[in-house]
Structures are given as structure tokens and as C-alpha cells.
């Protein structure tokens, strides 16, 4: 394992590599089968720049997420996109790094309101497959100068370059949080309720559904008085969707941390899948899941977590529905196959960024 302690040393390690490299941050998200010698970014740690008044943060890629969250909390700020911590779900140990968050575009329940990791990411530095250090984007939140390689690198699983530095737009902290829980809805009714709430002006920041407990959860955040007001409005709007209860403060926060990290499927036996579709297609997808599959819905129904019997072909459940399914654990290919013309573009990009084909060989496509 190589753990370079500077960007220059990392670039040298890539340039001098004789075979495939497996890029690792904290090693807490072992998604897919990468081969080769481990190249760790853990040696590149620390905050480069943090300007609370400008809502911007630039950090080295190996910085632990916990360090970043603590620094932001001190100024009553936060990352906008609720990065998921995969440790409970995947049964891994170690310290999640911000580079790993960006490489997997890890985004939590707030995705529906504040966007994904890629939407808050404003700059990257990375080392390409030949060892060149490349910069794209920067430290300002509005920037259309040249192509947006920032977004391309987000969610590219280390296959196009090794991230060394990442910059974010951050947001003010949240004064109050509350959750409206609807009990006893089936998937179809739950998606209806979530769509109705998300189509309201009451700024729902998360919407999930858990068939195993029959709970549908809707989160409100903001200033105390505003949350109280919107809770009353939301209850009135969803009158008729069954029995309601409310969670406030820590009870609400804990629920959404657990939802973000999918802890309800921690230790579950079987293959693990994540499906992305438009919310109104969720009931149809669920109907076609194999017997014995367990599931939960996030993003208002747009993201479905599934624990399925070993070897079940979950992509078949999608039928002709637009979207994709990632197999986080199981024998199926990890990443969803792309249509031929899109796959040709992806392959072309990879060949340009990593002509020797050494970065995380085996991941993506």
C-alpha cells in the first residue's frame, strides 16, 4: 500500500506505477471489485481554506468527513448534501474521507432539496492516469469558465483521476428540525403522500418510506417558528393519509441520520441494491421485485434500497422503466450497463483520462 503525503508524491506514484492501482480514501465504501496495489489518499489531510462568510470550503481529499463536519459545526455551518456513511450498511471499519464521498457522489436524504454532492462541489484537483496534476473549478460558487470536469470527477469512482483536493459550497446550520410521520400507508399511497408534500410550498427537505414499519417520514427544517407553521400546513395538506405523529429535535435528527446511513439494513443477509427511478415509477418497480426482497424508499420514492435473495436479477424488475440499479453487494455486475452510444462516450473519456487503464480497473462499466 502506498500512502503519499503530498500531491506531488501522489502524482509521482501514479506516473511511476507499473500496474493497476486501487484508489482508497478511508476504505469504508468497498463498492465493486477494483484490482491492484492500494494507493491511499489518507496522507493528504487537512483544511486548505474555509471562509464562513463566503460559504466556501476547500479541503484535501484524504480529510476525514468527521473533521470537516466538526470544523463546519463550529461556525454553525454544514455540508449541504448529507453525505451517507456506508460503514453500518456495508459492515466496514475505518474513517470515511471526503475524497471517498466525492468519488462515489455519496448524497443523503437531502438530495431532493439541496442536490447531490456534485451540486455542492465547486472545485477539484486530481492526478490523472499519467500522473499529471489537473485543476478544474475553484473556490467560487458560480463558475462557468471552461468545461465542468468537477461534475465529471464526482461519482467517477476514482477511474478518471485520483482526487487530491475538493472545494464545496456550504450552507448555514439548521435551527430546528421536525418530522411528520404517517403510519400505515402502502407504497403507492406513500409515494402519493410524498409527491403531494414535495409539490407543496412547505420546503420538505427529506421524504422516505419504510414498508416494514409502515412509516412514511417527511422532514421540515428551518427557524423554529417557520417549522411550526409549516408542520401545521403539512398536516392539513395530508389530511386523509392516515394516522399522524410528530418527531422533534434529536428524535427527528436521529431518524434521518439512520435513514441516510440505511442502518435498517445493517447486517441484513442477501444482495444489496440501490435503484434510482422517478418517484411515480417506484410502486411499479416494487411490484416486480422478487419474493423475499426487503426494501425502503428515500428521495420521495426516487431511490429504492433493496436487500434481495442472493443472485436475484434486480435489474429485471426495472423492465422498461427509465433509471438504473447499482449492486453494492452480490454477484451481479456492480454498475448498470449503459446504452451503446453512452457507453462509447464513457469508454472514450476513460481512455483519455487514463490511457494506460490503471486506475481502479474493474470499476464502472
Amino acid at each position: 500500500m502506498m500512502t503519499p503525503d503530498s500531491e506531488a508524491a501522489l502524482a509521482e506514484a501514479v506516473a511511476g506505477a507499473k500496474g493497476p492501482l486501487r484508489i482508497q480514501g478511508g476504505g469504508t465504501r468497498p463498492i465493486g471489485q477494483a484490482e491492484g496495489e492500494v494507493l491511499s489518499t489518507a496522507g493528504l489531510s487537512g483544511i486548505e481554506l474555509y471562509e464562513p462568510g463566503a460559504l466556501t470550503l476547500v479541503v484535501r481529499a484524504g480529510t476525514p468527513v468527521a473533521v470537516i463536519e466538526a470544523a463546519l459545526a463550529k461556525e454553525n455551518q454544514r455540508l449541504p448534501f448529507d453525505p451517507m456513511d456506508h460503514r453500518a450498511l456495508l459492515g466496514t471499519k475505518g474513517e470515511p474521507t471526503i475524497g471517498g464521498v466525492v468519488a462515489t457522489n455519496a448524497s443523503g436524504p437531502r438530495r431532493i432539496q439541496a442536490g447531490a454532492c456534485r451540486d455542492s462541489l465547486i472545485g477539484v484537483r486530481y492526478v490523472d492516469g499519467q500522473g499529471a496534476v489537473i485543476k478544474n473549478g475553484g473556490r467560487v460558487m458560480k463558475n462557468v469558465t471552461g468545461y465542468d470536469l468537477v461534475k465529471l470527477l464526482a461519482g467517477s469512482y476514482g477511474t478518471l483521476g485520483v482526487l487530491t483536493e475538493v472545494g464545496f459550497k456550504v450552507l448555514p446550520g439548521i435551527e430546528a428540525t421536525a418530522t411528520l410521520v404517517l403510519n400505515g400507508l402502502d407504497v403507492t399511497r406513500a409515494v402519493d403522500a410524498m409527491s403531494k408534500a414535495l409539490g407543496s410550498p412547505f420546503e420538505i427537505s427529506a421524504a422516505a418510506h419504510f414498508p416494514e414499519t409502515g412509516q412514511t417520514t417527511l422532514r421540515l427544517e428551518g427557524f423554529e417558528a417557520s417549522v411550526t407553521y409549516r408542520m401545521a400546513q403539512l398536516r392539513a395538506l395530508l389530511d386523509g393519509f392516515g394516522d399522524m405523529e410528530e418527531l422533534h429535535g434529536d428524535a427527528s435528527r436521529d431518524l434521518w441520520t439512520a435513514t441516510r446511513d440505511v442502518t435498517h439494513f445493517a447486517g441484513a443477509q442477501g444482495d444489496l441494491w440501490r435503484i434510482s427511478v422517478k418517484p411515480s415509477d417506484a410502486p411499479d418497480v416494487v411490484k416486480h421485485l422478487p419474493d423475499g426482497a426487503r426494501l425502503s424508499l428515500d428521495w420521495g420514492g426516487g431511490m429504492i434500497w433493496v436487500v434481495a435473495p442472493k443472485g436475484a436479477d434486480i435489474r429485471a424488475a426495472l423492465g422498461g422503466i427509465a433509471g438504473h440499479a447499482t449492486c453494492l453487494r452480490g454477484s451481479a455486475p456492480t454498475f448498470h450497463p449503459e446504452p451503446a452510444p453512452v457507453a462509447a462516450i464513457s469508454r472514450g473519456l476513460r481512455e483519455k483520462f487514463d490511457p494506460r487503464g490503471i486506475l481502479n480497473t474493474g470499476l464502472m462499466g
Binding site: E51, P52, G53, A54, L55, T56, N105, S107, R111, I112, G115, A116, R118, A132, I134, K135, N136, G138, R139, V140, M141, K142, N143, V144, T145, G146, Y147, D148, L149, K151, L152, G155, S156, L160, P172, E175, S195, G199, P201, F223, A225, S226, K278, S280, A322, G323, H324, A325, T326, F335, E338, P339, P341, V342, I345, S346, G348, L349, K352, M364
Partner: protein, 477 residues
Amino acid sequence: MEMPAPDVKIMAKKAKLVERLQSVLPLDAVIHDEFETRAYECDALTAYKCPPLCAVLPSSTQEVSAVLKICHEEGVPVVPRGSGTSLAGGALPTADSVILGVAKLNDVIETSYEDRYIKVQTGRTNLSVTGAVEENDFFYAPDPSSQLACAIAGNIAMNSGGAHCLKYGVTTNNLLGVTMVQMDGTVVEIGGAHLDSGGYDLLGLICGSEGQMGVVTEATLRILRKPEGARPVLMGFDDNEVAGACVADIIKAGVLPVAIEFMDRPVIRATEAFAGAGYPDCEALLIVEVEGSPGEIDEQLSKILEIARRHNPVELRESTSAEESAKIWLGRKSAFGAMGQINDYMCLDGTIPVSELPYVLKRIGELSKQYGLDVGNVFHAGDGNMHPLILFDANKEGDLELCEAMGADILRLCVEVGGCLTGEHGVGIEKRDLMFDQFKPEDMEAQMKVKDVFDPKWLLNPAKVFPLSVTETRRAG
């Protein structure tokens, strides 16, 4: 601004090319008469003009594909055009190029309030997207100043922003999927109505690529429910630095306004003379707008006003009615028109870290004296996206060149303090040669490799974004 010399071999086969294009399009969709092609000689950067070889106006993705296939086979450059409102020369043709206009592609294909998206053809104007959903109280968030005229195709090409992106983001944050035709005619579908990509984020790559990767014919856009209400407050300060500190304090306090607009004294005076919005005569003026229910607006505004008072404002005006709100916005919305009354102007678009605001304004003032050209500043203060307006006289020999030189100095200043050349207008031809100031050669090379993948022959809008000297061998290939 230099453009590549037209290829005489291409010019010589105009008749054959027009004939081939007419074989796949209705006759009136191929514009080749020398008088008529002049309608496409420039966009909103009117200082530069050149009629194209011809212009085509296809009505479907299939027609776009057929046109591109022909141009690809003939080796003819293609310049995609939305509504031609680019301030950066993004749609400026060369004499050997075909303008591909998407103006006839303006249908709404599908709307879903349940899943909160609208799918449109990309010739549709920005404002008419909101127009298609507002009877159900929804809207499309990105709102560039040109939203009445600009097309979604151009918004995607330039990753357009607007006054409200502090809260809602820019085009790339509101784009869910596209149908795009590549230069060889291949049609690709990227993204859809779902929220994330299963593979590489090609959508994020295409958005903001200035029409160099493909022609986007259809787009799936996120729509949002309108807030219950919105209300602005106006604040005047006798010091730019204090106004800048006030912006930072508002942001730090945990209030996230939907817009924070900044105007300096030259712009305040010009708009007063032009629109009479009743602005105070002061050094710096802020318009801060918040959204929500009446109670939520009151709460946010009271926090904002309390912060503003700590900075000794010379004026604080809270709107109490729709008319007062309109009056507060009146001056800001007529700022460009007001400056245009005084003289010709060039509008810059650099972004800076907001902490550098006082220094940058001071330096711009010094440059103004040095060059002898007046400058007004009006911009989105929350995100640091500046819009310095340099006044010049287009009829005066050498004034345009002087203005461009001063503009380049201001943009270099933006880069020097940690910002960038363009926040929402795009590079086009206008900032092409300044790319050296922001990027190292290898940074540009990494970007150009992406174009190599999408358009190996470099036929799509080839003379834009990158300095001509670094693209020369690629364009020749």
C-alpha cells in the same frame, strides 16, 4: 477578437452543401441567401459580426441528426444557436460555418407535477418554461436577465444562472436529462426524470460546454412549487466595504436569502436618472429578498434588518406591499438599460470570493481612472458574481480596444484574488484568450481531451472557449 480564416474549399462547395441540406429539411428551413444569412451574423456581443455560409432551422431531433451527419461528412463547422442572446459571442459564426438554430424546436413534450419535472424542446424560451407550469403554481428556477428571449438550449450550453441562484442553483443543478445529437448524427439520451446518473455524470459535463459536445434538442428540467410569497428589503451604505461586510454577516447568521443584489454609486445614479425608483444617493446599495409565508418572511427580514442596522445604513426600506417590492426591484432590473442610455457598454461577468469584494471594487475604480473609462458595478453579491459595466463609445476610434483591454485587466484581477473569468455568461470568443490566465496548459488539455471524445474532428463550435493557438492543430485535423 481574432477568428480562424474561413476554409476556401468549404466556401467553394456551398451550392452542393445547400442542396444536400435541402434534401433533408423543408426548403424554407435552409437559409442561404446572402442577404438573409445576415440575420445570423452575430449574437448579443454585437461588436463582432460575420454572416455564416448558411443557416438551418430543423424542427425535430431527426432533422438535427440528418443535418449534422451531412456537415460531418462534408467537414463543415457547425455553430449551434439558441436565441442568439449570448453576451460572450457563443453563437458567432465563421464564413465557412453552418448556423444550426433550434428556434423551431419549442414544444412542451411532457409535464409531471407528481415527479416535478417538465420535458421541453430546447428552442423554448426560459420564461415560457415557467409559463407552461405557472397555472399550477410551479416554476423553473434559473432566471437569467434575458429570460424573456433566451432559449433553454443556450441556457444549457452556458450553464446560465440568474438572480436567484443563491438558493436554487444554476442550470446544471436543475437539469435532469437531455436528448443530444453528436456531430456525426448519433442521438444519445442522457439522464431522465430520475435524480442521479448510473455512470459518469455526462449531464454535468455537457451542461456549460458551450455547444461543443453536441446539439441538445430536448431537456428534462426540474420544476419547483412557487413559494407562498417573497419580499425584498433595500439598504443603502456610504461605504462598499461596509456593504460587503453586511452581506457576509447575513450569510453567517444562518439566513439564506433567495437573492442579494449589489449596486454601486455610478449605477445607482444612472438608474435613478433612467427609472426613478427612489434609491438613496449613496456609495452602495443592497437588495435582499427572502421567501416564504408572511410570518416566515417577517422573521427572516427582522433578522436581516437587525444585522443591517449594526452596519449604520444610510437607508433601510422594507417593502410592505407588492407595489413597494416592484419599486425596489425597478432600479435593479433597469440597471443595464440605464447604463446603455449613457453610452455603449461592455458587461463583464467574473466571479470573486465575496471576502475580496472591497479590494476588487477599489482596484476597479483605479483601473477606471487609469483607462479613462467609467465603470458601474451591479452584481449578485451572495455568490460573488460581478457584473462590471464599462462604458465606451463604439463610434470613437480605439475606444472598443481600450474597453477590451480594461475588461481583460478586471478579469485577470478576478482570477488573481481566487475567482474566475466567467460566472454565468460563458467564455465564447470574448474570454477565450484569457483562459491562459486561469488555466495551466495541462488543465486546458484535460478539457480539450473531452471534446476529442465527443467531436473528434472539432467541427462543433470549434473556435470558442479555448485560445485559438492551443486548438489550432485539433481544428486542422
